[in-house]
Symmetry: C2
Subunit: 340 residues, 2 copies
DNA sequence: ATGAAAGCGCTAACAC
DNA sequence: GTGTTAGCGCTTTCAT
C-alpha cells in the first residue's frame, strides 16, 4: 500500500541540528528571533535531510491550504483552457496551487466538485462558465470565498465578465454595415447565460433595423459545438431564402458554418458573411480567417484569481465586477466595410 | 484574514449525537462495529451539522491526500488540454483530485512544481510532455510515484506513449506513395524528444527512397507553433526548388503551412501536399482538412492516471509502458493514393 | 459495541 | 534567543 512513505519531519531536522522543533519552525517561517549561527545550523540540517515542510500539517493548523479550486465546464474547450492557463499562472505567482475540475456543464457535477473542494479545505473557488442559477451556486458554495468568471454575478458575489450583449450587438451591426440583407443568428444552448445574452444582443441590433419583420425566424438553435454550426448552416443555406450573413454564438459553430458553406460551393464573404464569438486561437487559422468578437480568456482567468485573492485576504466579501470590453476583430469572413 | 472559518468537526458531531469521537469516525469510515441505532444517531447529527470530514486532517494521519499532480507544458495547447481532460476524468472516478501545473517547457518550472507538489503530499504525479532528461526528472521526483506521458520511460519509470518514429514514418510514406517528388520535414524544437523521434522517422522513410541525396537539405527547423510553420513554408515555397510535399512535426505548424501556401496562391493538395501530427480537433476544421497522424490525447491522459493509480497501490514500482499506435488519418490536404 | 487516549507534522503561546 | 507544550481534526490501538 506504499503508505509508510518516509517523511523527514521538523523533528528530524531539530535532532540533527541539535535544537528544538520550535526553533526550526521559526527558521522556516522567519518568525521570532533566531541567532544567526543557529539559523545556519538549522539550514544545513534541512538541506542535508532534503526537508520539505508538510503543507498538510501546516494547513491543519492555519486552516489555510494555499490551494484553490477551478471549476470549468471542460478544459478541452479552447476558451476555458485559456482561462485555466491564466488562472493557474496568477495563482502560482502567489504560491497557490489549483485543483482542476471539469463539470461538463452538469449541475450535479458542479455540486459534487464543490463538496470535494470543501473537504479539501481549498481557500477559495473560481467558477467559470457555470450554467447553474446563482442561488443554487451560492447554496453549494456555502461560506467559501469565490468568484464567478464569464458571467456577471448579480446577488452577492464577485465576477469577471464580458458584456455578451454588447459583443453580439457589435457583431450584428458589423454584418448590417457590410451590406448583409438577411442575417441569421445561430444561438448557443438555452441554459447558458452567455448564449442568452448574445441572442438578446442580436435581437436588439436587429430591432433597430427598419421594417424587419418576423425576427424569430432569424434565430436558429445551436449548441456551441462545431457540428451544430455545420448542420444549422446546411439547413439554412439549403432553404428557399438563404441568409447572406450568419452570426454564430461562438467560434466553433462559426467554423462549422464556414465548412458547410464551402461544401455547398458558396464563397465567403461574397455569398455569405460569417461572424463568430470568443476569438479562440483557431479562429485566425481557419480559411477564410474568421471575423469574431474577442473575449480574452487568459486575462479573464488571471483577473479571476486576482479578485479571489483579494477576497480571501479581506474578511469582507466586498463585491467587484471586472468587465472586459468585447471588441470586434474583422478578418476575412466578412466583407470590409463599404465607405459611402 | 478570514482565518477562523468555522468548521464543524467530528467532535461537534460526537457531542450532538451523544457518542465518542471514535464512534463517529467508525461511522464515517464504515470500520469496526457500530450498532444500527447508534449509526443512525450519528448520521442524523452529521446531516444536521452539515458535517464534512477534513481531508487535511485525514491526510495527516494516512499520509494519503487523494490528490495528484498533473505537470504539462501548457494546458492551452490542444494536445495537452486533451490529456488533462482525460487524466482528470479518470482521477475523479477514483476519488482523486488533480493539481494543474504548467511548466511552459522550462526545466526550472518543472522542478519548482515538483517541490510544491511534494510539499502538498500528493500521492503521485503525471508528467506529460517534459523536455527534461530522465535523470533530472528522477532526481526531482524523488520517491513520488509517477508516470510519464508522451514519452517512453527508459530507465525506471512507467509511461504512456506513442511511437513517434513510426508515426512519422507513416506520414512520410504516405506522402511518397501519393506521388510527391520533393518532401520536406519541418521539425519541432530540438529539445523535444517527440520532435526528435519524428525527425528520425522521417529520415528513416526517406532513406528507403532510392537515390535521395542530401537528406539534410530536406529538413527545416520549426518550433511546434503556427507561426513557425507559416514562415518555414513561406521560405520553402519561395525557394528555387520548392517542395511538393511537406510533413510538419505537428498540426499547428501544418496549419501554418496551409495558410502560407494559400497566401501564395498554391492549391493543396495539387501543388503541395501537407501532413501534420497529433490530430488535434482543429485539424479537421481547417480547409482543406488536414491529413495527420492520430495520437489520442484524451486516452493517453486516462491511461496515465490508471497506470499511476496501480503504481500508487502496489509497493513495487512495476514498470509498464503503454503504447498507443499512431495511425494515419487521410483527409483533403494530401492526394488520395493512386492505384496502379 | 463503545470510549479514552495517543499521536500524524506542524505552529504558537508560554516559560526559561 | 531557545525550549516545552498544547493543540489543529482526525484515525487507531487498547481497554472496557
Amino acid at each position: 500500500m506504499e503508505s509508510g512513505r518516509a517523511v523527514t519531519t521538523i523533528r528530524d531536522v531539530a535532532r540533527v541540528a541539535g535544537v528544538a522543533v520550535s526553533t526550526v519552525s521559526r527558521v522556516i517561517n522567519q518568525s521570532g528571533y533566531v541567532a544567526k549561527d543557529t539559523e545556519a545550523k538549522v539550514k544545513v540540517a534541512m538541506e542535508q535531510l532534503n526537508f520539505q515542510p508538510s503543507g498538510i500539517a501546516r494547513g491543519l493548523i492555519s486552516r489555510k491550504t494555499g490551494s484553490i479550486g477551478l471549476l470549468v465546464p471542460d478544459v478541452a474547450n479552447p476558451f476555458f483552457s485559456d482561462i485555466a492557463r491564466g488562472a493557474e499562472d496568477a495563482a502560482i505567482a502567489e504560491g497557490f496551487s489549483l485543483f482542476l475540475c471539469n463539470s461538463d456543464w452538469q449541475l450535479d457535477r458542479e455540486r459534487m466538485y464543490l463538496d470535494i473542494l470543501r473537504r479539501r479545505w481549498v481557500d477559495g473557488v473560481i467558477v467559470a462558465g457555470t450554467r447553474s442559477s446563482e442561488s443554487d451556486l451560492l447554496e453549494c458554495i456555502g461560506s467559501l470565498p469565490f468568484v464567478v468568471v464569464d458571467r456577471k454575478a448579480t446577488q452577492m458575489g464577485s465576477s469577471v465578465w464580458s458584456n455578451n450583449e454588447v459583443g453580439a450587438l457589435l457583431a450584428t451591426e458589423h454584418l448590417m454595415s457590410t451590406g448583409c440583407q438577411k442575417i441569421v443568428h445561430i444561438a448557443g444552448p438555452e441554459q447558458s447565460p452567455s448564449a442568452t445574452a448574445r441572442k438578446t444582443g442580436f435581437l436588439r441590433a436587429m430591432s433597430q433595423r427598419p421594417s424587419q419583420s418576423a425576427l424569430q425566424s432569424l434565430l436558429f438553435p445551436g449548441d456551441f459545438r462545431y457540428e451544430g454550426g455545420y448542420h444549422a448552416a446546411l439547413s439554412l443555406l439549403n432553404s428557399s431564402a438563404p441568409p447572406d450573413g450568419i452570426f454564430a454564438a461562438n467560434d466553433l459553430m462559426a467554423i462549422g458554418v464556414i465548412q458547410a458553406a464551402e461544401s455547398l460551393g458558396l464563397h465567403i464573404p461574397q455569398d455569405l458573411a460569417v461572424v463568430g464569438y470568443d476569438n479562440i486561437a483557431m479562429s485566425s487559422y481557419v480559411s477564410p480567417r474568421l471575423t469574431t468578437i474577442d473575449q480574452p480568456g487568459y486575462k479573464m482567468g488571471q483577473a479571476g484569481f486576482e479578485i479571489l485573492f483579494q477576497i480571501m485576504h479581506s474578511k469582507t466579501q466586498n463585491l467587484t465586477d471586472q468587465e472586459f470590453e468585447p471588441t470586434l476583430i474583422v478578418r476575412e469572413s466578412t466583407r470590409s466595410i463599404l465607405l459611402h
